[in-house]
Symmetry: C2
Subunit: 248 residues, 2 copies
């Protein structure tokens, strides 16, 4: 077991920035639960930096990984987590291709908050959705805040940033778009395959993507709230979909 | 229109702390949307501190309120919001009594994150739930982070911190508790009135409250995620309830 170097600490800090992640082709996986989740993924892990306590506790699981010891203080300072961070991994950003449009998928238009994107990845994983396609101005799927909010689901859901209108245009699947004037999801007959298109909380789905919506749907409101958080709305619609189609 | 004083700025900063809120019987409502929401509530507003731009723009709506001008810089520094904050109101904490157990209600056991509590208040409001009862170790409903996450719903949903096991014991309503081993919510026949009991993400519902659960329910999982965020789970269960019972 070697100790963390100044250059390594510098790299950890640098990878908090999108530009640096792109330049290095690397991203950070922070927090104990997320780091341990890496064992079950096919992602290429460069190094795992962790406290001696964490490394000792998970010796068996971490066999085959390059592990480097660091103090809790060093790791917390280097990471974007505010509280104690016992483990950080440096992982290669995988090369992804636009997924074939099949099964149930999620499409995101301008969802720029990394926390929301991470929460959507987590709820997608809960409902067995494997692919999210997102407009290029969505939050970076490799932002540490996104990864953290996925609570380990980042390894099971592929997020691809792409030209969203072009993707929707070439897809033969129905596109379900969430709009206030849409059909009540409690009455909607969902098809077994389709794309659920969600817009940002502030702007909604923009016209360039909206033109490909085949089915407008809405979550019925019973009280005074004017809107729902985009991740919450995604979860509720997926639940309504899965009630009718349980095969993933 | 008067300008903000040093003592007033000091009060705004102080009200970020629970102890000070309790001592003064006051809380903060931050952000333009939340402050404008106050017009529609019966809450007693002491003062509204806002930029001259905000005050000019909303002159009509804010008639009858004591408005005090402050710079964007002063307001942002004094508030807990990281980004620009054009308006902050100082509001009296209302005296509340434990609500009568009727209709559909939410009970929270140990939900200590203010953001989660705020998001639950917002989704409760969406589904027309008027009352949340919460164990005394739940997040403070008057924490600025809670208020902010409600996105204006704080004025329509009453949250009462109380002795939760005692409350559940005296209630004659069915208590629906979310547990992994519960009945699939897609198959559950909900009664028109009931209490939805949710625990914290880390500890779940504790035994003291769990003993009063009459119906264990669960949200079916289809993928790899191990858990759902408590606010997300609350929203999905409320949607399943409202599908059967649309009267508020």
């Amino acid at each position: 077991m070697t100790m963390i170097s100044k250059n390594q600490l510098k790299l950890l800090r640098a990878l908090g920035q999108k530009k640096q992640r792109k330049a290095h082709g690397l991203f950070l996986v922070e927090g104990e639960k997320n780091v341990l989740e890496l064992v079950h993924t096919s992602l290429s892990v460069r190094q795992i930096f962790a406290t001696s306590e964490f490394l000792t506790k998970h010796l068996e699981e971490l066999k085959g990984f390059e592990c480097i010891e660091a103090s809790l203080d060093e790791l917390t300072k280097a990471s974007s987590l505010v509280s104690n961070n016992a483990a950080v991994a440096v992982v290669e950003i995988p090369e992804t291709q636009a997924p074939e449009a099949k099964g149930m998928m999620i499409a995101l238009d301008g969802v720029s908050d990394p926390g929301n994107l991470g929460t959507i990845i987590r709820i997608a994983d809960w409902y067995g959705i494997k692919h999210i396609v997102a407009s290029t101005d969505c939050a970076d799927p490799y932002n540490p805040k996104t990864i953290r909010a996925t609570m380990g689901s980042f390894g099971r859901v592929q997020v691809t940033l792409l030209d969203l209108p072009a993707y929707l245009q070439q897809s033969a699947l129905p596109v379900y778009g969430a709009f206030l004037e849409g059909e009540n999801v409690h009455k909607t007959q969902f098809s077994a395959q389709g794309i659920l298109l969600m817009g940002s909380e502030s702007h909604g789905v923009r016209p360039e993507a909206k033109q490909y919506v085949t089915d407008k749907i809405t979550i019925p409101a019973f009280g005074g709230a004017e809107s729902l958080n985009v991740a919450m709305a995604t979860g509720i619609i997926l639940d309504n979909f899965r009630r009718q189609h349980s095969e993933c």
